[in-house]
């Protein structure tokens, strides 16, 4: 089945669609790269089961929106995918790398945006970004980092301490860090939260660019109407269970039905 190939990273090495075709000299059938595969995955916090029997396959390049009530398990699922939390049961992989056994490899392929931005208040915006550039091993000059801040609307605030920022500005700083990573997989926890209209527009543009560049995006969002503009599929989480069928039924009135 030939559908789409965006290039990707496998355990056997790094290759791209172009290099593969060059090697074979023929346009052969290429299978779809699986960005995420979860099988019977569960996660508990003590006695409380937050995720139950999650089965999910996401192809590379797709944008998937998770929605559900507060406490339904959206953030927990994102944190499990990010290797912040270990699954209590079941197994999963990201780009073929096991979430438990190859967590370090998984982390090399993802960028995570948490609700609060994940920034250091006693560092300036620029210092926060310098820190991220070091950890992502991107040798960028100060000018390039300032450009990155300007791209998310933080040029004026580049030398201000992040503790003086509003929640929206912290989120923008988190976005600048996300872009710096140039990761294959974006995990976004409530990306629209705390942002003003221009900030939400920025997220829309970044998501559109991510789709164009073949990036896989999983995002938890309450702003379903907005998310539907970029989503390839919507998954509904309710009490730790993932419902694709329910999502189709619930999303249908909003203009998207996806099984």
């Amino acid at each position: 089945m030939v559908k789409q190939f965006t290039g990707g990273v496998h355990k056997d090495g790094i290759f791209s669609a172009a290099s593969l075709l060059k090697l074979t000299g023929l346009a052969l059938e290429i299978t779809v790269t699986k960005a995420i595969e979860l099988h019977s995955l569960a996660r508990r916090y003590g006695a409380v089961c937050v995720l139950r029997d999650i089965n999910l396959t996401v192809s590379a390049g797709k944008t998937v929106v998770l929605w559900g009530d507060n406490g339904a398990g959206k953030t927990t699922l994102l944190k499990v995918l990010a290797t912040k939390l270990r699954p209590s049961r079941g197994r999963g992989s990201v780009f073929g790398f096991d979430l438990n056994k190859e967590a370090a490899q998984v982390r090399k392929r993802l960028a995570y945006l948490n609700v609060f931005g994940g920034v250091y208040g006693t560092l300036t915006a620029l210092e926060n970004l310098e820190l991220a550039a070091t950890f992502y091993q991107k040798p960028l000059s100060r000018e390039q980092l300032v450009e990155s801040l300007a791209a998310v609307g933080l040029f004026e605030a580049r030398d201000k301490l992040a503790r003086t920022f509003s929640s929206g500005m912290k989120k923008r700083l988190g976005l600048a860090r996300l872009l710096l990573a140039e990761a294959e997989l974006w995990l976004l926890d409530e990306p629209y939260a705390a942002l003003d209209e221009s900030g939400k527009g920025l997220i829309d543009r970044l998501l559109a660019q991510a789709k164009e560049s073949g990036r896989t995006v999983i995002m938890a969002s309450h702003d379903l109407e907005r998310s539907l503009n970029v989503a390839d599929s919507v998954l509904h989480i309710e009490q730790g269970r993932l419902y694709t069928g329910t999502a189709a039924a619930k999303a249908a009135p909003l203009g998207l039905a996806h099984g």
Binding site: A82, K84, K108, N114, G117, G118, Y120, T122, L131, T134
Partner: protein, 225 residues
């Protein structure tokens, strides 16, 4: 070599944050100074008794200050979920531990050096003799203490009762380091006995090596949820 860069970057970040906030510096300096003054006052004016108590006073002050320092180094990480982000960077998690350890160690060593003039002033300790050996003792003692404190502070960082649990959990483990540090300091300051102090310093070095290997190796499991 990238790992070394990560370690120094994390240590630099922690120290820069402390220089800006001064939260730990003010608290620990004040606390350590008060401990030494109260202790000297309680012991009384007898020079011999004061000289005997000087090593204990120094390490009591450093130990309590070290707990505050280690706990605070994770407290700043928890604001705005920065620690969560730090754990998700594509860097070996051991480098996070080593970076925070380096920052805590440097801070404690600096604090130890600042306590030395107070020891002279309040306890009448004579430090000019064998000052290098005393500095070595402070370096090794604070390293051992910082190792345990940094490790257990990570372990308790996400717990609600972390402030009370941290000393309860770490002090039984750190006792050998403190005992060896007090005895080595006593041998150097009080008796000027370098041969005997070397035995304690070797023991201290042994503890440091063991704790270094164990804490670095299992840190990634400790921060895993």
């Amino acid at each position: 070599m990238a790992e070394l860069t990560f370690v120094f970057t994390i240590a630099r970040k922690d120290l820069l944050q402390e220089i800006r906030s001064k939260a730990v510096t003010v608290a620990t300096l004040f606390f350590s100074g008060i401990v030494l003054v109260i202790l000297a006052f309680a012991i009384g004016p007898t020079p011999a008794a004061l000289a005997n108590a000087a090593p204990g006073g120094l390490w009591v002050a450093l130990a309590f200050a070290g707990v505050i320092s280690a706990a605070q180094s994770y407290q700043t990480e928890l604001e705005d979920s920065a620690f969560e982000q730090l754990l998700l960077y594509p860097i070996p998690r051991a480098t996070i531990f080593l970076g925070k350890l380096l920052a805590n160690w440097l801070f404690m060593t600096l604090l130890g050096l600042l306590m030395l003039p107070l020891m002279v002033l309040l306890f009448g300790a004579v430090l000019e003799q064998n000052l290098l050996w005393l500095l070595l003792t402070i370096l090794l003692g604070t390293l051992g203490f910082a190792l345990i404190a940094t490790f257990y502070a990570a372990l308790t960082a996400n717990l609600r009762a972390r402030e009370s649990l941290l000393p309860v959990l770490m002090f039984p483990v750190v006792v050998p380091v403190l005992l060896a540090s007090v005895r080595a300091t006593g041998e150097i300051v009080r008796l000027g006995n370098l041969v005997s102090s070397q035995d304690w310093l070797k023991l201290l070095l042994g503890f440091d090596l063991i704790y270094f290997v164990i804490c670095t190796a299992i840190f990634s499991y400790v921060v895993e949820e």
